[in-house]
């Protein structure tokens, strides 16, 4: 862990009482949902973490507390450091504040997380589905959402599947 990253992590720990974990030289800082905007402001304004690289979520179903983790990767050009923030969320329909005001490119990432996991962002300017059709039901990347594959046709079950397969006409 670099000196600059060390300082940033320390500041997050002192200011928000955050816990940290380390895995293969990557630092993750665990924060509460209501702290995330302030934490991002702190990182951007005082520690020169200018870019939100990535924002995504992980589903730990059937676990309920926490069911989701929202994961942020924030990068500093100047110091060449990357920090990972994680926000655990409970319940099936969680929500957390949007960080669009701090990092504008969070807009699409948050729409994607909403689309794929059904996590709501408060204060987001345009929370719509982004990848799936607007009338799609369910959130595909949730663990309780099935992969939705079609049964593979072999010679022994060809007739059976072919009979119920829909074919287009002119």
């Amino acid at each position: 862990m670099g000196e600059h990253l060390q300082k940033a992590v320390q500041a997050l720990q002192e200011r928000f009482g955050a816990t940290t974990s380390q895995f293969r030289d990557e630092v993750s800082v665990f924060l509460q949902a209501d702290q995330i905007v302030e934490a991002c402001e702190l990182l951007r304004n005082e520690f020169e973490f200018e870019m939100l690289e990535d924002e995504t979520a992980v589903d730990y179903w059937p676990e309920e507390t926490p069911r989701f983790h929202v994961v942020y990767q924030i990068y500093s050009y100047k110091h060449n450091e990357r920090i990972c923030l994680r926000v655990p969320l409970n319940g099936n329909n969680p929500s957390l504040p949007s960080i669009e005001g701090v990092y504008p490119n969070a807009n699409w990432y948050e729409r994607e997380v909403y689309d794929m996991f059904g996590i709501h962002y408060e204060g987001h300017s345009d929370l719509r589905r982004i990848l799936m059709p607007h009338d799609w039901e369910g959130h595909p990347l949730r663990k309780d959402y099935p992969l939705g594959h079609e049964e593979i046709m072999f010679s022994f079950n060809f007739d059976e599947i072919n009979a119920r397969k829909r074919y287009a006409t002119e």
Binding site: M132, P133, W136, P140, Y145, P146, L147, G148, H149, E150, I152, K165, R166, Y167, A168, T169, E170
Partner: protein, 160 residues
């Protein structure tokens, strides 16, 4: 070819109308400029210098469905794209043909999941399937020639 010698000075050739129409259709079958995914790159390669699809009267890719005869579904069709694809097909004037290029559009390929239509024949009727992920440009050209063969064999009563 020898047609000139047989013609003499009369300037008339007798042939079946079917043959002449089908021949004309295969010699200027304009595909729609419509790429979806990976296969579209191979379709571009088939158009470009090394493979040169214009040898088969296909140098014109029409961007508008109203001007095209052939739809090459090059790549995976997602659930969101399927209605658009059908709409494009409906806009094409008759007679029209469809080639499902690649595994994804033929049967779903490796993406047997919620997002991809398992085989574009659910959406539009397909004339020729080309296997491969993606098929080589030669594969696509073979598919097109197969389609030409099919068109040449069509009967007048099929058009009605």
């Amino acid at each position: 070819m020898g047609v000139e010698q047989k013609l003499g000075n009369m300037g008339i050739v007798t042939a079946k109308l079917e043959d002449v129409v089908n021949w004309a259709r295969t010699k200027a079958m304009w595909p729609m400029l419509f790429g979806l995914a990976c296969c579209a790159i191979e379709m571009m390669a088939a158009q470009a210098s090394n493979y040169d699809m214009s040898r088969f009267g296909m140098e014109l890719m029409r961007a508008s469905p109203r001007q095209s005869d052939l739809m090459i579904v090059a790549g995976r069709v997602s659930r969101k794209m399927a209605p658009v694809l059908r709409r494009l097909y409906d806009q094409m004037p008759d007679p029209k043909w469809v080639i499902a290029m690649g595994d994804c559009s033929s049967c779903g390929g490796v993406f047997n999941n919620y997002a991809i239509v398992p085989g574009v024949d659910e959406v539009v009727p397909v004339d020729v399937y080309v296997a491969g992920c993606p098929p080589r440009p030669e594969g696509l050209i073979h598919g097109i020639l197969t389609l030409h063969e099919k068109v040449r064999g069509q009967k007048l009563r099929d058009w009605a």
